[in-house]
């Protein structure tokens, strides 16, 4: 007897939970073979609002965690991803990759997790600075998270692009709400299942599915959101992003290259703020080297 297949319902990932969209809407993107990929939640602005509330709740705890602990959790994401690589390869193929490309993308994704896990407790040492000043102060600059970051993952390379977008954001203690690739959303939601089992506190990464045209204005105009990250916006969308974000002088970061191919610590810094401290010190009478 032929077994009736049990299909997965792809839902959103908000605050460590998997809710459906509050709007009750869905869309059905098609894969490479013209078959429907399934009914995918079409998130509304209210889903985004709820996700920001979740991100805000998670922010304090995540930012104050020891950098080494964040590193352990990112590494754990890599471990869980590796264990489910076959599923990811299947989904990527369904969404239009060749088998070789799909395998490569999943391997690169695991490697990307390990790469950024390493940076968690190192970017401060590498990029912070002790600054020369001509007064008796010890002057130093360190990096701090900007807060809540909204992001749009690239359309291409739906898994690696999403990870490449969000990992550098959370490395430095930010929490984020990310909109997955619109045409290839399956791997984003399966990634959410990986995140949910990786000791990553709920709300640090929130994943929505839907249309960027619809959500972009709300992502950039929300006063609680401190920065916005994307890498493949059209010129028109980028203009909207800049115009709508002026109310709280939100930082708009548009990575020039495809973030999926960018293995670099610099994306970490784009969602960091520099804090410079002037610490008074006794000036040396013996004429020791002033800075």
């Amino acid at each position: 007897m032929k077994r009736l297949e049990v299909l997965k319902t792809y839902k959103l990932y908000i605050g460590g939970q998997f809710p459906r969209t509050e709007s009750g809407r869905y869309y059905s993107p098609t894969g490479a073979d013209g078959q429907s990929l399934g009914n995918i939640c079409q998130s509304s602005r209210k889903d985004f609002r709820n996700a920001v509330v979740a991100a805000k709740g998670a922010l304090g705890g995540w930012a104050s965690r020891a950098a080494f602990n964040r590193s352990q959790i990112l590494y754990r994401i890599g471990e869980m991803l590796e264990g489910r690589s076959a599923q990811f390869v299947d989904e990527l193929i369904k969404q239009g990759s060749t088998e070789a490309d799909a395998r490569q993308e999943v391997e690169d994704s695991v490697d990307r997790c390990v790469y950024y896990a390493g940076w968690c407790d190192k970017y401060q040492q590498v990029f912070s600075a002790v600054n020369p000043v001509s007064s008796s102060h010890f002057n130093f600059s360190i990096y701090e998270p900007v807060g809540i970051v909204a992001a749009i993952a690239p359309e291409e390379k739906p898994l690696l692009g999403l990870l490449g977008t969000v990992l550098p954001i959370i490395v430095g203690g930010n929490s984020c709400v990310v909109l997955a690739s619109g045409n290839s959303p399956l791997s984003a939601i399966t990634l959410a299942e990986v995140l949910a089992t990786s000791d990553l506190p709920g709300g640090v990464i929130n994943i929505l599915t839907g249309f960027r045209e619809e959500l972009l204005p709300f992502m950039v105009s929300h006063m609680e959101v401190n920065a916005f990250v994307a890498s493949d916006l059209s010129a028109e969308h980028l203009k909207t992003a800049k115009e709508e974000s002026i109310h709280n002088l939100k930082r708009i970061i548009h990575h020039k290259e495809n973030i999926a191919d960018c293995e670099s610590p610099y994306p970490i810094l784009s969602t960091q703020e520099v804090k410079t401290t002037w610490h008074p010190i006794e000036s040396s009478i013996s004429g020791g080297g002033k800075y």
Binding site: R49, V52, F218, S221, H222, M223, E224, H247, N248
Partner: protein, 307 residues
């Protein structure tokens, strides 16, 4: 000390009807399904602001904290014109004088003071009465008393009744809110009985909770209390106020409460004379929603003053 007004006759709790718990839960759920949008939402939110008893009841309260609270009650968010003040500030008795001074004589904001060994109610009756009188003497317009839950739960309903009646006398002209601390009463039947006792003993308002224990105001509990108020109103024509307190921290939930009030006791109760919210963080959430209606952007809490 004898008062001229006669003591109210004691209340026989067997007269209180039993509460249908399942029915109350079902009814309570319905209130949360109304869709309130645009102008209707805007006026609802303004009403909520005007019904708030802005509260600070911490061991760490200082005179300056109370002054700040009083300022906030009068100036909720000055960058939005046309906002109402809150209904009252709610403080400990020792800080009533400070609040009176900070508010001045002309402010529409009233001063509510908790009294009678708040929050536990475990104290001597004469001291409770003394505390009440002093708070009123210091300038409190309203007294929020707690009932003796220990006595209530051990079946000494007459003690609870007499105590409320005595505090009511001690209040003089101040209005009396009676806190049932429903989280400690155990059942909805008990909530109904305590409500009836308080109403018959002379409460002007009945209030759910102190806000000091985790189980605070909920829609079903408030519904049971509103039904007690409604039954009393049908029998006697006398209106009693209602104040849910604790745990109501977002605007949407507050609007659900207004829906419940309107559909249970009627629109006459939709004023701060008869309905209040005891809350500290609700005001800011409501302000954020109003600001969102004004300029269309979702708001961030950091742009709103804490107290």
């Amino acid at each position: 000390m004898k008062s001229k007004s006669p003591d109210p006759p004691r209340y026989d709790i067997s007269k209180s009807p039993p509460v249908d718990q399942v029915g109350v839960a079902e009814r309570a759920k319905r209130f949360t399904t109304r869709s309130i949008k645009n102008e209707c939402k805007r006026s609802g939110l303004q009403l909520v602001l005007n019904m708030i008893d802005l509260t600070t009841l911490e061991g760490a309260d200082t005179p300056n904290k109370v002054k700040q609270l009083c300022y906030k009650a009068n100036h909720l968010h000055d960058s939005i014109p046309g906002l109402p003040t809150t209904a009252a500030v709610c403080v400990y008795p020792t800080l009533v004088k400070t609040a009176r001074k900070a508010l001045g004589k002309s402010s529409p904001v009233k001063i509510a003071s908790v009294a009678t060994a708040f929050p536990s109610g475990q104290g001597y009756l004469d001291l409770k009465l003394e505390e009440t009188k002093r708070a009123v003497g210091d300038g409190a317009d309203e007294i929020d008393m707690v009932i003796s839950r220990g006595k209530f739960l051990s079946g000494d309903y007459d003690y609870v009744f007499d105590e409320i009646a005595a505090v009511k006398k001690a209040c003089g002209k101040a209005r009396l809110k009676v806190i049932l601390e429903t989280g400690e009463l155990g059942t909805l039947d008990n909530v109904r009985r305590a409500s009836d006792i308080a109403i018959h003993a002379g409460a002007d308002f009945i209030k759910t909770s102190t806000g000091k224990i985790s189980s605070a105001a909920t829609i079903p509990i408030t519904l049971v209390m509103l039904l007690a108020i409604r039954d009393h109103y049908y029998k006697t024509g006398q209106m009693i106020g209602m104040k849910p307190a604790g745990g109501i921290s977002n605007a949407k939930l507050a609007l659900h409460y207004l829906v419940m009030v309107k559909e249970t006791v009627g629109p006459e109760w939709l004023t701060n004379e008869w309905f209040r919210f005891g809350a500290s963080s609700l005001a800011n959430d409501v302000l954020m929603q109003i600001a969102k209606l004004e300029d269309g952007h979702y708001q961030a809490s950091r742009y709103f003053s804490k107290d």
